[in-house]
């Protein structure tokens, strides 16, 4: 992880750590904080706790997003503090709806000049964000809203498993990870397990991201805690609740960052500090899919 972040996430670049509620790679976010990156443009539909922490640590100068919330809990206090009071530093924002962000990633991935969507009619959003525009349909009177492509410099995607070349399989909430990866100039894949390529090839419809577009594969078990990985561990909701208290205060937030990010060397040290009890509390139990037949066709 250290090397992948050091090589691809440079000061001033745009970075998308994606995963909707699930698969949020806190390990990568913490490593970016630890390496002291500055002036990043952070892109994410739902900034979640990971960007709350990164913004509190001062890595970002701009945020592109569609929903600011601690899911199921409340506000992202650090992001609000940056927007409302410029603490620890002013934060430029560029704001869309969910489908607008989805459209931006999709257009970026498909190298389209724009993505059309039925949204924004009557809303104040286009007034505040001039990137949202309109296009006249040649087939009717309709003028439809469009958003421009987005191509992050780096996308970081967490998944259950990949082979050594980065052919990546994911099940559960697929979010916008495929689109973000294809839209990005560089892709870092972080996985719970690195598996033999034969396992990937045994179920090719499950492959969301091909190794072709992947620049680095990082093996980082429990890399999403306190977020979750379907079938591997549950969300640590106690932490999401606790963060609501910690994050209301900049000093308390900085103390937390010191203890849980700067003072731990890497993800292994973080997990050791967290303790086995927490991880075993998050065991999801079993719900197997069963096996299918693709046919040998020899």
């Amino acid at each position: 992880m250290h090397d992948a972040i050091a090589e691809y996430v440079r000061d001033g670049l745009s970075v998308a750590i994606e995963g909707f509620t699930a698969f949020i790679c806190f390990a990568a976010g913490h490593e970016i904080i630890r390496q002291g990156r500055r002036n990043l443009t952070l892109i994410r539909m739902t900034p979640d706790l990971i960007y709350d922490q990164m913004i509190a640590a001062g890595v970002a100068s701009k945020l592109v997003f569609s929903y600011l919330g601690n899911p199921g809990v409340g506000s992202l206090h650090c992001v609000r503090r940056a927007i409302e009071k410029g603490i620890p530093a002013p934060l430029e924002i560029e704001e869309y709806s969910h489908y607008g962000m989805i459209g931006r990633y999709t257009a970026g991935a498909m190298k389209l000049p724009f993505f059309p969507l039925r949204s924004y009619t009557g809303s104040d959003l286009p007034r505040m964000n001039r990137q949202i525009s309109l296009v006249q349909s040649p087939y009717s009177e309709e003028r439809i809203a469009v958003v421009p492509p987005i191509n992050p410099d780096v996308a970081i995607i967490h998944a259950q498993r990949a082979d050594a070349e980065g052919n990546t399989q994911l099940w559960g909430l697929l979010g916008i990870q495929k689109e973000a990866a294809f839209a990005a100039r560089k892709v870092i894949v972080v996985v719970e397990e690195i598996v033999d390529q034969s396992i990937i090839r045994a179920d090719p419809n499950r492959t969301l991201i091909p190794g072709l577009i992947v620049n680095a594969v990082v093996h980082e078990p429990f890399g999403c805690h306190p977020s979750y990985v379907q079938g591997y561990y549950d969300r640590d909701n106690a932490f999401y609740l606790a963060w609501d208290g910690i994050s209301r205060d900049q000093q308390k937030t900085e103390d937390w960052l010191q203890e849980w990010v700067f003072d731990v060397k890497d993800r292994s040290a973080y997990l050791e500090k967290l303790g086995k009890d927490v991880l075993s509390r998050l065991d999801p139990g079993d719900a197997p899919t069963g096996s299918l037949n693709y046919g040998a066709y020899t």
């Binding site: 929903y67 869309y96 709806s97 969910h98 489908y99 999709t106 949204s119 697929l174």
Partner: protein, 258 residues
């Protein structure tokens, strides 16, 4: 006599009853989630829950903590990329009803979830649209769930995030907004609709024991009243039993919001 249910429970029951016979509902967590699940147990047994996280036909084994809870994935009928959910399901016209909320609402059912104060120097920065803007435009109809208060029911929004009936009347027509707009506003004291030519919010019904004055006092404009306001039936024993024993046995939602 104190009623043996909380105002949150009454809201949940009222919301669930609006889903009679519905086939699909676009749902958030918390109170709306319980309302939809209550409807499945009572008056809409074929109702399928759609979450913007990409889940269709969820069958949660526990109370979901967020719209991205893994318990919504396991056992669902289909789990898909969010682009498919917004493109094929929502914009494709397959979302029958959608539940929305907000920090502010105006007389035409327009919602603000973006900011209190000026956009560029906000007093309170709210979460933003999420999917609400396109849901308000594309869902066949929307149901709005909000607690009554002068701060929330305002003469003028600080920011229009998600369109209701815009300037009222036929403002939605001819603007390629496939959905019909808000059908009902469900609050903790009364039910409102927009069934008039101006598409302006009106009091349709009061919860048991609530007076008109208690309602109008919480609204920042002179609210219209339907010519014959009725009283909502209180929760049935069955509805309360399902909420308390099946849907929210620990009172996480109903307790917190009560």
């Amino acid at each position: 006599m104190t009623p043996d249910y909380t105002s949150s429970e009454m809201m949940i029951v009222a919301a669930s009853r609006t889903l009679r016979g519905a086939r699909t509902v676009f749902v958030g967590v918390g109170l709306p989630n319980i309302a939809c699940n209550l409807a499945r147990h009572t008056i809409a047994p074929d109702l399928e829950l759609i979450y913007e996280s990409g889940v269709y036909g969820a069958q949660p084994a526990r109370l979901p903590l967020s719209i991205g809870d893994p318990t919504l994935v396991t056992g669902a009928l289909s789990v898909i990329p969010m682009g498919d959910l917004f493109g094929y399901y929502l914009q494709g016209g397959w979302v029958g009803a959608a539940l929305l909320g907000g920090a502010q609402i105006d007389r035409h059912g327009n919602l603000n979830t973006t900011v209190i104060g000026e956009y560029d120097s906000p007093k309170v920065r709210l979460p933003g649209s999420g999917g609400a803007c396109e849901i308000a435009i594309n869902a066949r109809s929307t149901l709005i769930i909000m607690r009554l208060s002068q701060r929330a029911f305002v003469e003028r929004l600080d920011f229009l995030t998600s369109p209701g009936y815009l300037e009222g009347g036929t403002s939605r027509a001819g603007r390629y907004m496939p959905g019909a707009g808000p059908m009902q506003v469900i609050t903790d004291k009364a039910l409102f609709s927009f069934f008039n030519d101006d598409r302006e919010m009106q009091i349709d019904a009061l919860y048991p024991g609530v007076s008109i004055d208690e309602v109008t006092a919480e609204i920042g404009w002179p609210i219209r009243q339907h010519e014959s306001i009725f009283e909502v039936d209180p929760p049935t024993d069955d509805e309360i039993r399902i909420i308390r024993t099946i849907l929210d046995p620990e009172g996480t939602v109903t307790g917190r919001l009560a």
